[in-house]
């Protein structure tokens, strides 16, 4: 019914309705390899719902989500992750009682079954990978810190690192710079630009200045439908977008 494509992610005719209310309405959306795509839109536009649908947290009413030509709508959450889709939640979702190192170790894509986890060993390969990721997310000096003691910005980075260690082909980030200081925002923009090489990244963000720093392509979502797609300048000058979103 839905044909194969060259896109990393191809969303076609995606609809979800909650008791008759269509939070996402017949959405078509494509994501290229190595593309950093930002979704913006007013509150209630359905941005987070789209991420929920892709990662399997919410089940679609109809439509198709193809990731590397594999249909995701029929897979369970953990199978979608194992296929190569990583998702960061809006509020930092880390294990506060574990150290940074343990947070990354728990996310390491090995020993994912019950018995695999019982037999899992912290080998040099695992440690090397953890150090490599920790360096990337600027937390190498904090490896033994309990994650709950990190600053808000560091928690956001840690969660990004927990996804990076799984080396996903598609990385989805829900408001990664919410609550960050100006300096942290800059560092995060740099980080995102670095990690979008070799994989596709889908970001939801409100901060327009930050969006301009990172986005290759921008999609504006409004009432579950796409209002405009294009690069930052195109979108900013679109009369519809100015009307419902940027103008206010």
């Amino acid at each position: 019914m839905y044909s194969n494509t060259d896109y990393t992610l191809a969303v076609e005719g995606l609809t979800v309705s909650f008791d008759g209310f269509k939070a996402v309405d017949d959405l078509n959306f494509y994501l290229d390899k190595n593309e950093l795509h930002v979704v913006i839109g007013p509150n209630g536009a359905g941005k987070t719902t789209v991420l929920d649908l892709i990662c399997g947290k919410t089940k679609a009413t109809s439509g198709s989500i193809k990731f590397l030509n594999q249909e995701l709508t029929e897979l369970s959450e953990h199978a979608i992750v194992r296929a190569g889709v990583g998702r960061k939640f809006q509020t930092p979702s880390i294990y506060e009682n574990l150290t940074v190192l343990e947070n990354l170790e728990v996310s390491y894509p090995q020993g994912r079954g019950v018995f695999g986890a019982l037999m899992f060993k912290r080998t040099q390969t695992v440690l090397d990978k953890i150090h490599e990721i920790a360096r990337e997310i600027m937390l190498e000096t904090e490896l033994d810190t309990e994650a709950g003691l990190l600053s808000h910005g560091q928690k956001q980075w840690l969660e990004i690192g927990m996804l990076l260690i799984q080396d996903p082909q598609l990385l989805m980030l829900d408001e990664p710079v919410a609550g960050m200081s100006v300096k942290e925002r800059e560092q995060t923009a740099e980080l995102l630009n670095k990690i979008s090489m070799g994989r596709s990244v889908l970001v939801i963000e409100h901060d327009m200045e930050f969006v301009a720093q990172i986005a290759h392509k921008v999609t504006v979502l409004h009432q579950g439908k796409i209002l405009a797609t294009g690069d930052m300048a195109e979108v900013q000058n679109d009369p519809n977008v100015i009307e419902v979103y940027l103008g206010h």
Binding site: E77, V81, S93
Partner: protein, 388 residues
């Protein structure tokens, strides 16, 4: 909480706690208690299996089970069925209208041994059944609940309801189960008199060794990546799920392991006390087990054992003098622990234990400065009250 965890990881302090517990139950208690008291202690230590199992499923797994009595009971009944069949040999039951079947069946006009009793004439089958039947039952309950993402208070209520159903079933099917009286008048194990003092002593030691083995096994599970994942699931279930783990499988596994551990306790109970009855299956014992774990510290395997001993000791002392007050007292104690010491005895030790260790260290240093050879003995007495 994370330092409990580090302790388990570090191993040294956990090891000290384990050695002290072993020394207490294997050497100190048998030395100072008479045979009757030791047997009583052995009975308490069978409850400790259930308390330890609750540390796994509740403390670490984050899922309160109010049905550990189910598994304790299944293990106990399996052992009791074997012992009862041995006690019901045709010679022993010659006066019955149908000799060779358990007495309560005869009283209920049952004329042949029911099919599900038959395999229990084999000791090896019984041992396997003690381990497998409760685990499989837990697997069924766990799969039905956790795969559908039922958890928290709903899971607690459902396990409680199942324990009630099982009790009603046992009481109602008197001819097959012995009813409210349970399975009584157990005499021998493969021809060996289990009511003698020497047998009871041996069971006590077997019980202790099994308990220590279970604690070591549990500690291994908790210090593996599996254990860290349990804590992670308890904190942020969605994050674990969206890191590529099938969360339900982890919960099912720990629930099954907890069931198996409780069942071992139940089987040892039957051996040491000499009977099994529905009063060890239902709501009250299941909740008592939760209280043992809560008082001892639900994040501490060894603390749960001390909690179990303390509560049961209190129960014995108080119910001798104020039988009607004991339940109120235990309820009050439970509320107080949950409100003021959420980590139980083990938590108290972690918060205030350093005063004791500091004093011991001071004494040790004094001794060390005066004469070096007494090094070893000072070290040994150091963490006498170690709990976690």
């Amino acid at each position: 909480m994370s330092f409990v965890y580090e302790k388990l990881m570090g191993g040294k302090q956990g090891m000290v706690g384990l050695i002290i517990l072993s020394a207490l139950i294997l050497v100190v208690f048998p030395m100072f208690l008479d045979s009757f008291r030791l047997n009583l202690l052995g009975k308490y230590l069978t409850y400790a299996f259930a308390a330890v199992s609750l540390v796994l499923i509740w403390g670490y797994g984050g899922t309160l089970s109010l049905g550990q009595g189910i598994f304790f009971g299944l293990g106990g009944y399996a052992m009791a069925m074997f012992l009862k069949l041995e006690a019901s040999s045709p010679e022993n039951t010659a006066i019955q209208s149908t000799p060779g079947i358990p007495d309560f069946m005869d009283w209920n006009q049952i004329t042949a041994l029911p099919w599900f009793w038959e395999p229990f004439s084999s000791f090896s089958f019984t041992i396997i059944a003690i381990l497998v039947v409760p685990t499989f039952f837990a697997f069924l309950i766990g799969s039905a609940m956790f795969k559908r993402r039922v958890g928290g208070v709903y899971f607690a209520i459902i396990t409680q309801v199942i324990s009630v159903i099982l009790t009603v079933l046992i009481v109602g099917q008197q001819g097959f189960t012995g009813g409210i009286n349970g399975i009584t008048d157990l005499r021998t194990l493969n021809g060996w008199d289990i009511t003698s003092d020497s047998a009871k002593n041996i069971f006590y030691y077997v019980n202790c060794v099994l308990l220590i083995g279970v604690i070591v096994l549990s500690r291994w599970v908790l210090t593996s990546k599996f254990g860290r994942l349990l804590l992670a699931i308890r904190d942020k279930e969605d994050r674990v799920r969206f890191s590529g783990y099938d969360v339900a499988n982890f919960k099912i596994f720990i629930f099954c392991l907890a069931a198996m551990i409780s069942a071992i306790g139940g089987a040892m109970f039957t051996l040491q006390v000499g009977f099994m009855s529905p009063s060890f299956v239902g709501i009250v014992p299941s909740i008592e087990m939760v209280i043992f774990a809560a008082v001892g510290g639900r994040m501490s395997l060894i603390g749960a054992v001390y909690g179990c001993l303390l509560i049961n000791f209190g129960k014995t002392v108080f119910s001798e003098s104020f039988p009607e007050l004991w339940l109120f007292l235990m309820g009050g104690l439970f509320i107080a622990v949950v409100m003021f010491f959420p980590n139980g005895l083990a938590g108290l030790w972690q918060d205030y234990g350093h005063y004791v260790t500091d004093r011991f260290t001071a004494i040790k240093n004094k001794i060390l400065n005066k004469s070096t050879p007494s090094n070893d003995s000072a070290k040994k007495t150091l963490p006498e009250t170690e709990l976690s």
